[in-house]
């Protein structure tokens, strides 16, 4: 018999997952310059995002993140309920991992790993290196959705609809063409999303799902730093289970609890995610959750390991900083408009991928190495793949941590994110003696930042008059539409470089 509570939790878990998916679908231009919904709600709820913003230099808009404080407060009262009721990655693991789950294996001491990881990440963030984003389950969820699941879903659905449209099967094709507009308008992306790092991101998600084979919720139990943070808050929470360990005559909880919370290894109050399943599966009906009981467990983290983790965290920051600044040696690190200066940007960005999802021009992609070894998954503008739309301010609207500031359209139009430079070895009017003016045609600044100069040139021995483009440094804002639209095959003959960006004015040509 399924108890009411379990049904209720499953319903809430499903509805919140669907809700986050719905917000994900709304993370898109829908006819108004301002997004109609708080689409990055998931990250405004995220205590790790709060920590990242808190430790970052510069002014923090903690107003954006008040829901995270609320979540921490609720956790102190109700325990680590978020993990089983609301966490979308947890829901995804329950959903996708189900078929892989076998007998639980015992990994003695592993649940402590997540606390050590949290200590490492927190101290590293305190010392200047913010890596929460790499391990934040909410970031992992949305990143996987943006970079992997959504593009694949669109390819599959569109492929099927296209095939039915072209094959003109009797009965089936007319029905498909009928329902296609609904899919197109509500469930599919306006344009097929494609992203760099898709495979790598998919591999990370796949590993997390496959780990379910070793233990249910392997990630949540042993590794999740958000789980650790909520666990710490949950330690003295008011809502506790009675009893907190297996009963002497029955070890059923140990084998059934998805978190292994009642084993002798675990601190029950911190590991239990209040999923309430044990209310139902206890054969003796002995279990109750109530607000009166105080937990007596103590965290059994070894001091030596804690110290090692702390030292590790503190050392990570200088270790990262000991590498040469990538901005010194390369010029292809183009950040979204409104991005704060690079040092602060990396400390704020939690790699959630919201900006990449919302980018109307498909310009933002996850970084691998452009911004250094620790810039992984942070957004960079890859102008050959997409450009920054002149009047669009969506990325600043969705950024939950203020890594990308919200700009007004007027300010946005004047924000330089880079500079276009012409590669005269490949640009047609220079290299081939043929006229081509696509870059000038598309340049969006009212007074164009790309102009033509009529020049007499020798094409072979033949003197000709040609229009040749030139970039006006003071007008170019580096939006990249010229690089996107350059008709030369492969690499563009006009490139956006990071010179002269507004956020670091000293980096001028």
């Amino acid at each position: 018999m399924i108890s009411v509570n379990r049904k209720l939790r499953l319903a809430v878990q499903l509805i919140s997952l669907l809700g986050f998916l719905w917000l994900f679908l709304q993370t898109e231009y829908r006819g108004t310059d301002e997004l109609a919904y708080p689409v990055s709600l998931l990250f405004r709820l995220d205590p790790l995002a709060l920590l990242a913003a808190f430790f970052a230099p510069g002014e923090s808009n903690l107003f954006l993140l008040w829901p995270a404080l609320l979540l921490l407060g609720l956790t102190v009262v109700l325990g680590r309920f978020f993990c089983s009721w609301f966490c979308p990655l947890g829901a995804l693991l329950d959903l996708l991992g189900g078929p892989f789950r076998r007998q639980q294996l015992n990994f003695i001491g592993w649940p402590k790993l997540k606390y050590y990881l949290l200590v490492v990440l927190t101290l590293a963030a305190l010392c200047g290196l913010q890596l929460f984003g790499l391990f934040d389950p909410l970031s992992i969820f949305l990143r996987s959705l943006t970079l992997v699941i959504n593009p694949v879903w669109n390819l599959l659905a569109n492929g099927l609809f296209d095939w039915l449209y072209q094959a003109e099967l009797p009965l089936v094709s007319p029905v498909a063409d009928r329902v296609y507009p609904f899919f197109r308008d509500f469930l599919l992306a306006f344009r097929q999303p494609v992203f760099l790092l898709g495979l790598f991101t998919a591999a990370v998600l796949l590993v997390l799902v496959l780990l379910e084979r070793l233990q249910p919720r392997f990630w949540c139990r042993n590794l999740c730093p958000l789980g650790a943070l909520l666990g710490v808050c949950s330690r003295h929470s008011l809502l506790q289970r009675v009893p907190q360990t297996d009963c002497a005559d029955c070890r059923f909880c140990s084998s059934r609890c998805r978190m292994g919370a009642s084993g002798t290894q675990a601190v029950h109050s911190a590991e239990c995610i209040r999923c309430l399943d044990c209310l139902e599966f206890c054969p003796h009906q002995r279990i109750e959750f109530n607000f009166g009981t105080r937990s007596t467990d103590k965290f059994d983290l070894s001091r030596r390991s804690l110290l090692t983790a702390s030292v590790g965290g503190v050392l990570l920051a200088p270790l990262a900083a000991a590498a040469p600044l990538s901005t010194k040696s390369r010029n292809d690190l183009i950040r979204p408009p409104g991005a704060v200066i690079e040092e602060e940007f990396l400390r704020r960005c939690i790699r959630c991928g919201e900006c990449m999802k919302v980018c109307i021009g498909g310009a933002l992609h996850p970084d691998l190495l452009r911004g250094g070894a620790f810039s992984l998954w942070s957004p960079v503008l890859v102008a050959r793949l997409g450009y920054c739309e002149y009047d669009c301010t969506l990325c600043g609207q969705v950024c939950p941590t203020g890594a990308i500031r919200l700009l007004q359209v007027k300010e946005k139009r004047k924000t330089k994110i880079g500079l276009a430079v012409i590669d005269k070895n490949r640009c047609l009017p220079f290299a081939q003696g043929e006229e081509c003016l696509v870059c000038e045609e598309h340049c969006p600044t009212g007074k164009k930042a790309i102009v033509f100069e009529r020049r007499k040139v020798l094409v072979g021995s033949d003197p000709q008059e040609l229009l040749q483009p030139r970039v006006l440094t003071e007008l170019c804002i580096g939006c990249g539409i010229c690089e996107t639209r350059c008709p030369v095959a492969g690499q563009s003959a006009i490139l956006i470089v990071s010179e002269g960006e507004t956020r670091t004015p000293q980096r001028l040509l």
């Binding site: 231009y29 006819g31 609809f161 306006f190 047609l428 696509v438 969006p444 600044t445 639209r485 008709p487």
Partner: protein, 303 residues
């Protein structure tokens, strides 16, 4: 007297000929029909745009001359850029709205409005005001739609000088009527962008490549896409920093509308608004040589 053998042979010949003729897709037939028409042109000036559109079309004998009852119509404005109305980068929404209304009044079964934009299509449709204007008509027969990526086909360009094959947007070719609604603008490579260049909005492929031989490419494209009526919006024209503009300084208000069944004739007159002779614009010249219309304005009948 027709013998039995002769009869059978003739039947076979006819069948073969019919088979061959039938297997040539209709789309490949060069639409030279337009060249046979009289060179006519209507130009009107006025500040009330819906009124102006109606007067101009009436001068050509009314929309019933171009759209017959129960026909499908594609209206192709320029919605290329993410710019508001006053910047004169896109066709005026009221011009589009009135033309769609005229088509409906002429009994059109369905009127579709679309353009392959340069900026993000969603933003262009909204910023131009055209999406709102078409939706305001509130008729199930009139709709503004985004391009369906599935409906592009590679077609041969018969007699093409710059292009032998290119990707075209089938709904524009398959509609019974195509009405071309460009806005007159400055363009740095083709000097001006008018009716012929506006039809670049119903082709696929890497359009940037066409700029290498823009004049002949435009003539090639227009040899495949036949438009029944060209109505050039010169209510305000963009005289510099085209084709997308963005500064009011570059916009001139002219309150003018130019209409002709022949695309090149309409373009030829529009060129004079910018102080050019039609022969000075390579695209117009190439179109004329391709038989797309008269450009000697002295030979054109003004209505």
């Amino acid at each position: 007297m027709l013998g039995r053998r002769q009869f059978i042979r003739q039947c076979l010949h006819t069948a073969c000929a019919a088979g061959v003729a039938g297997s040539v897709p209709q789309l490949l037939l060069p639409p030279v029909a337009s060249a046979a028409q009289d060179a006519v042109l209507a130009v009107r000036v006025g500040e009330d745009i819906p009124q102006l559109v109606r007067q101009t079309v009436a001068a050509l004998g009314g929309m019933k001359n171009f759209v017959k009852p129960d026909e499908t119509v594609v209206v192709k404005p320029n919605i290329g850029w993410d710019r508001p109305v006053e910047m004169a980068a896109n066709t005026h929404p009221l011009v589009v709205q009135t033309v769609v209304l005229l088509c409906l009044e002429a009994g059109a079964k369905k009127v579709q409005v679309f353009d392959r934009t340069c900026n993000d299509p969603r933003r262009c449709y909204v910023s131009s005001g055209i999406q709102q204007a078409v939706k305001a008509i509130d008729s199930t027969k009139a709709e503004i739609v985004h391009m369906d990526r599935r409906a592009y086909r590679d077609l041969d360009v018969p007699g093409g000088k710059a292009l032998s094959r290119w990707s075209f947007y089938l709904p524009a070719l398959e509609a019974d009527r195509l009405i071309n609604l460009p806005i007159a603008k400055h363009h740095s490579i083709s000097t001006l962008t008018l009716g012929m260049k506006n039809l670049m909005g119903v082709i696929g492929g890497n359009r940037g490549m066409l700029h290498r031989k823009i004049a002949e490419s435009m003539a090639d494209i227009n040899a495949v896409i036949h438009s029944d009526l060209t109505l050039i919006d010169a209510t305000r024209i963009l005289v510099a920093n085209g084709p997308q503009g963005g500064r009011l300084e570059d916009v001139e208000v002219r309150n003018t509308l130019i209409a002709s069944p022949q695309i090149v004739t309409a373009d030829a007159y529009a060129a004079t608004l910018f102080g050019y002779q039609p022969q000075q614009i390579e695209t117009i010249l190439a179109g004329h040589h391709r038989g797309l219309g008269e450009i000697d304005l002295a030979k054109v009948k003004r209505l």
